[in-house]
Symmetry: none
Subunit: 401 residues, 2 copies
């Protein structure tokens, strides 16, 4: 039996409240100081909680696998990221705050440079044009209409844009048009099954009109479409876990991911302080709170070790206010590691802290990667975090007699 | 390849003898003393064995999942509890010592109260009638006969009874008759596939006769049937592991579970002392001994921390006598946790001790939950215990060349 189905069968109501505190990209590596970002950070409040908790290390997708934001969060939410995939087009749309409906088909678009004579691609990223230029070009492309469907096109960043078609009978299962190397012409969108023919026809019509419009542009006189996909239709938190859940996040991508599993997405402002205020205001209304901290990841991506330390310390300083709400179960972890020394997401395990009054406490007294290696949870997987958390909140009944 | 099939392929004979000592509900949580039941218990003999062993923590079904006795033991026996399910009717029958044959169909019965005018259920448990009353009613129902099949009905506890039909062509795949809430009439048994039509017809006929007989009773003037199932037909210990195995247990449920995997069930009396005597008497005849201790679980369920400590200490005091038989491999664990502080089964991992002369000893010197967190086995799953145990008894050959 699949874990999701088991959860559907076993979940029961309880009055307990769960806080899942996700520090994006939390996991780190030691810099020259010999300490990771979390180890270097002064975190007296998390350390105090640690003494009443069980700790461990968790793998988001699989050993050695570096997750994107989508798989990292799917794991945290208890959906096996190797089974449930979110198309790149969908993530691109969510990342800029677009909302998808069951009738939406989303693609990631890349501007590229075509040789005017032969039509072959000479630069797959159109010289990485500036976001401003991208927005200007997208503004032109907004004039394109297609028979019977709504067309939405929005700039993302640099040479990237998002394209959404919305209408009846749009199915996924479509090839990409980027030939993956220069010297070849952009491909046509091909339907991978009969049901996707309508989508392919519409997308090819859109591309033809776009190419005509971009013809005299330099260097972005063409584009390709990738990751054409629909909302994966994940079973909701309500359905799987019986939870009344909400998301407190500042970035569109994470709000979008939470929306995919049916969480209520709250307006949480732009800062950690407004996020905490939102948590307090909404405390009475939900029994599961996904609280997302973005800047641990961004500072890691920037290679800024000290900035990441500062973000962790800022979160720690807010812990007394958060804990004054008396959550019954608190899980602190991240969606993936983003060590500042690597300036990118990585495959390293995430430190995990699980607090509850019915916890089997371990000997860890400090929240950090190396300390968690000796934690009582051992080495676990992200998909196991939700069942564990629910159990500690008395929200799972016995399996079998 | 499934583990069960791998075991079938790899098992080889050896002279070594394996003792699986199962302390039901062994795992605990700290009480106000800061120690769990096992940690608080004085266990000099287990601690001595611990120094010659490898330890760890084991999960019976999945992280966060609280197992019933069925799934907990299936895991210990090496049968994935998410793959092999034992119907509730079967467990109910086994629990009161009834023996099932491949021709038996077993249901759990609940007495309920019906509104005499409308026939809707007003109390799904008939006011939780006393076991004595239940036995009286069941005695009446024993008069019911059905064409072509044997009918067995026996009281269980309170409002619960077990019903078994035995005969040709009885298949499972039947709906339950309890509508799960009051204000509705009991449902008919519906066949979920064509092969189960005969069973449904017979069960509905039995229900009709039972309702007529119970008509003037108060408050139990009706009943419902649930968990209608057959012996799951598990592959036997002999077939899977090549073992000549026996079960030493005092409670019917555990004898029944052992019988499901083809163990010889010995008459082991009523006490730990008679169980040890049985072990000694039968030592020459078997190579695998499932030795079950019930009272760790019952005292945990009662919330009696000290009583659970006492049972563990009693088991420990018997260890020298048990070890004097010189078992080659000893596994000590439990089917699930039953912390006295929770008064119920729980999801917490089980401490595991594995002794053998070819063991890779770890640094654990005391058998307890927190000590086992640092054990050399790490965190494992119950289904992995049988292969590990067999390997240490030289009963598994090499996989592949």
């Amino acid at each position: 039996m699949k874990q999701i189905d088991l959860m559907k069968e076993l979940h029961v109501p309880s009055d307990k409240k769960i806080l899942m505190l996700v520090l994006d990209g939390l996991g780190g590596l030691p810099n020259e100081s010999g300490k990771t970002e979390l180890e270097a950070a002064r975190t007296p409040n998390m350390d105090r909680l640690c003494k009443e908790s069980i700790c461990g290390l968790s793998t988001p997708v699989g050993l050695g696998i570096t997750p994107g934001s989508g798989p990292g969060h799917l794991g945290l939410f208890g959906y096996d990221p190797l089974e449930y995939a979110i198309g790149r087009g969908v993530l691109e749309a969510l990342g800029i705050g677009l909302t998808l409906t069951p009738k939406s088909l989303a693609a990631r678009g890349n501007f590229c440079t075509l040789d005017p004579a032969s039509g072959v691609i000479t630069d797959r990223r159109a010289g990485r044009i500036a976001t401003q230029k991208c927005a200007e070009l997208v503004n032109k492309l907004k004039a394109i209409t297609l028979e019977g469907v709504k067309v939405i096109v929005e700039p993302v960043k640099d040479y990237r844009f998002a394209l959404i078609l919305e209408g009846e009978g749009l199915e996924e299962g479509l090839s990409e048009t980027d030939p993956q190397k220069t010297g070849l012409k952009p491909l046509k969108v091909e339907p991978l099954h009969a049901g996707a023919k309508k989508s392919a026809k519409l997308l090819n019509a859109w591309i033809e009109k776009a190419f005509a419009m971009l013809h005299d542009e330099k260097p972005a006189n063409g584009c390709t479409l990738r990751g054409i996909a629909k909302d994966p239709g994940l079973p909701s938190y309500k359905e799987v876990y019986g939870l009344k859940s909400c998301a407190i996040a500042t970035y569109p991508m994470y709000k979008g991911l939470a929306r995919l599993v049916g969480m209520d997405v709250l307006d949480a402002g732009e800062t950690l302080a407004t996020e905490v205020a939102t948590l307090k205001d909404s405390w009475a209304k939900y029994d599961f709170f996904f609280f997302h901290v973005k800047k641990t990841d961004s500072s890691g991506e920037d290679g800024n070790f000290d900035a990441k330390v500062n973000v962790i310390e800022e979160v720690d300083s807010l812990m007394p206010e958060i804990l004054s709400l008396k959550p019954d179960v608190v899980l602190i972890s991240g969606d993936h590691s983003t060590p500042a020394t690597l300036k990118s997401h990585s495959w390293h395990e995430l430190p995990v802290l699980l607090y509850a009054n019915n916890i089997r406490k371990d000997t860890v007294v400090e929240f950090g990667e190396r300390a968690c290696m000796a934690g009582g949870l051992g080495h676990i997987r992200h998909v196991d975090l939700m069942p564990l958390t629910l159990a500690h909140a008395d929200k799972l009944t016995k399996y079998g007699a």
